[in-house]
Amino acid sequence: MSGSDNKWIGENTIRPDGADKVTGRAAFAADTSMPGMIWGKVLRSPHAHAVIKGIDTSKAEALPGVKAVMTAADIVDFPTDTPVALGIQDMRWMCRNVMAREKALFHGHPVAAVAAMTEAIAAEACKLIEVDYEVLPHAIEIDDALAPDAPILHDFIEFEGKPSNIAGTIEHTKGDVEAGFAEADVVIERDFTTRPVHQGYIEPHACLVSVASDNKTTIWSSSQGQFMVRAMVGLLTGLTQSDIRAIPAEIGGGFGGKTIVYLEPLATILSKKSGRPVKMTMTREEVMRASGPTSGSKSTIKIGVKKDGTITAAEGIYWLQAGGLPGAPVRGAVGCALAPYDIANGHTLGYDVVCNRSKVAAYRAPGAPIGAFGVECVIDELAEAIGMDPLDLRLKNAAREGTQAVHGPTYPVMGYVESLTSAKAHEHYNAPLGPNQGRGVASGFWFNAGGESSAQVNITEDGNVVVTTGHPDIGGSRAGIANICAELLGIDYKRISVLIGDTATIGFSNLTGGSRVLFASSMVVTESTKNIIRTLCELAAKIWDIDPDAVEWEDGAARPAGANAGQFDPLTLAELAARANETGGPIGAGAQVNTTGAEGGFGTHICDVEVDPELGIARVIRYTVLQDVGRAVHPAYVEGQMQGGAAQAIGWALNEEYLYDKDGKVDNPGFLDYRMPVASDLPMLDTHIIEIPNPKHPQGVRGVGEVPLVPGLSAVRNAVYNAIGIRFNDLPLSPPRILAALDVREAAE
């Protein structure tokens, strides 16, 4: 589809939910209340690792105002020896994550919950619950969890025949790396670490749940998938899915962290027990302690090149923290690490390591930034070693159409090379740098995702359009849908309302995640809209008494297709809608598809930093994100994804990290000490959109949102190297770390 013919695709239209969001009317998860509603609160483990020998809730139950108390005994148990998969989650781990069962696995792990007339009474009651803990030694860092005498978190996990904290591995092999390294002129091998970081959504987890006496259950919550909420709550509480109506509240950020449930099953059980609607919200401290950050990691990366820049072999071995239960994003790390390159001999291997911190949840391109970090740093070092421009070294080895990736697939047409050539030609890449300033580049890949989506498109009696899809809109996807539907129907986008349906009003739709929403939902909306256009043409044919094939839809009206079809005035959508009853009845169409064809996404980042040698502060002073997005249906929200991802990468690279005290307790569970980028930390974030349409999508869309987090960690780190000549292989590049390195160098000089 060529851009120039489009009226609405590619336009920065006003989002359908915009006015509600700038006036405070949009209802986020914590904004809804119900008559008779009471408040729930969670009692959390004060220990990082402890056996729960008994829980006495009698004193809490006796407190006036308390209406219900629950523990893990109220949640459906999934035995540890039988996997029960739900998407990428396993209910064995989910049932133990929402509430500690045999053991508390991290400081902040829920052990009981109370519902009471006020939040204060519920909190008071939590203090009256007596838990008999047998405190165990804990292991948080990867090296602690892998030590020969490490405390073993789960006796059901074995690795190489022995009890272990290694819960699984994923490996990709192509060619023969040893032979490849033997061919290389230069081989560089380095060790890297990244710290666990939180998704950092500004809206804490919250929900309101009403279970009526007939088990009819309504859940308002902020999640990346109302159908995920329904399924998980059903499985964890024993309610049937048809009794559960999960209503997606507006979601105040997720970035992957809201792809699982925390509070919803607890509030459901408390509501059932109390006979009242129950509202629960997490404090920021609870979010930081007990909702999923992404993994910390360590890795060893080894890459060999010939003098002409050809990569002969590459290997990456990764260890990722899973938290208290298995499930680190190993696939993203080992799959994406080498994906931008055409490498004859490649090997990646990743270990899923359980440890005493909260179970990780997805975070934007889960695992991929960890995978790319060391690889993109070593490539930078290799470029210097052989005297080649780092973009040229990437170009020399860039994956293209037909390249077979180390992780398996053979690529279709895609725009990685274009991201590199555009970067090379970009004014930013060629701009002069001042003292203490440096420039770094890096690339990254994300798989993107298809999967199940549903849509319903209805024509109103007055000839306008209501589109319902099943995906929470986390970054403006409704605006993209409005553009596509307006384009197909040939009408003003303002005549189209785009809504997110709940689990009772729209068909199954998979999560908002993996950069799949606009890709998948535009496929089902396109199919539905095309069916409607066919119906409209049939109605016009009936009115004109001609063959439906002799009618075409153009510019919002049915018209005779050519002179042979007859001479009739066009019939507009409004005119056809007004006559719908006489010509056939209500006009609407739906589609439910398991979408495929979401091809991977690639991007390249250019970062300039200035390092203050006195304070050790590295400031990003210029940043450019270049990415193949397939087709930018709503360019401003595409840019927004690229900018938001880059900002998160800058935070991860420079400042963000979890700190633990000696008892395994998070020491910085708030925004003051867990330092995410604020407005004064960042420059404008420039974007360069590349559009190489995805041939497998009606509008050419590729996922956008995940890729821009992937290259950023290394782009920042390579820029710091370029500024001060020190290669940091451990994140974050916080002022104390930079100062220490500068001091070491000074002492050596």
Binding site: N12, I14, R15, D17, G18, A19, K21, V22, T23, G24, R25, A26, A27, F28, A30, D31, S33, Q199, G200, Y201, I202, E203, P204, E250, I251, G252, G253, G254, F255, T281, T283, R284, I474, G475, G476, A479, H634, A636, Y637, E639, G640, Q641, Q643, G644, G645, A646, A647, Q648, G670, F671, L672, M676, P677, V678, A679, S680, D681, L682, M684, L685
Partner: protein
């Protein structure tokens, strides 16, 4: 705890409520007065999602005791538009896609308006430092900063 009787003005209308001495303004706005536009992102004064103005001064309502509202004038996001007409900042945020999830937006708008009331011609750096207490995790701030600067320019042009 005995409740206090507070008389105040919210978005130009007289308002009375009862609160305990330790209750925050944010809790009263959200839980009693149905003004849920102010959000609780942290409850500790670090995110700005709960921003309101108190006699024209920007405050975090999570750090303000509800009892402090006595005799004062409060403005929340619900009072920013003039009837059907959005404030120029609200309109510009929509036109320039300065929001993604929108949870930070009410606080950003209240804070940005407080800035422009005080300084109609801020530099980019001044906007960035003024809004440094309002966290946004979605946008990387770029479009927010541009929207504030563009609104300021428009408003100066119109004045």
């Amino acid at each position: 705890m005995a409740k206090l009787h507070i008389s105040t003005t919210i978005n130009g209308e007289p308002e009375e409520f009862l609160c305990t001495p330790d209750e925050t303004m944010l809790d009263v706005l959200r839980n009693q007065l149905d003004l849920t536009g102010a959000k609780e992102g942290c409850g500790s004064g670090d995110c700005g999602a709960c921003s309101i103005t108190l006699d024209g001064t920007l405050v975090c309502s999570c750090l303000m005791l509800a009892a402090e509202a006595e005799g004062k004038k409060i403005t929340t996001i619900e009072g920013m538009a003039e009837g059907e007409t959005l404030h120029p900042l609200q309109q510009k945020f929509l036109e320039e896609a300065a929001l993604q999830c929108g949870i930070c937006t009410p606080g950003m708008l209240i804070a940005a308006k407080a800035l422009l009331d005080e300084n109609p011609d801020p530099t980019e750096t001044e906007v960035r430092f003024w809004l440094a207490g309002n966290l946004c995790r979605c946008t990387g701030y770029d479009k927010i900063i541009r929207a504030v600067l563009d609104t300021a320019a428009d408003m100066r042009g119109a004045a």
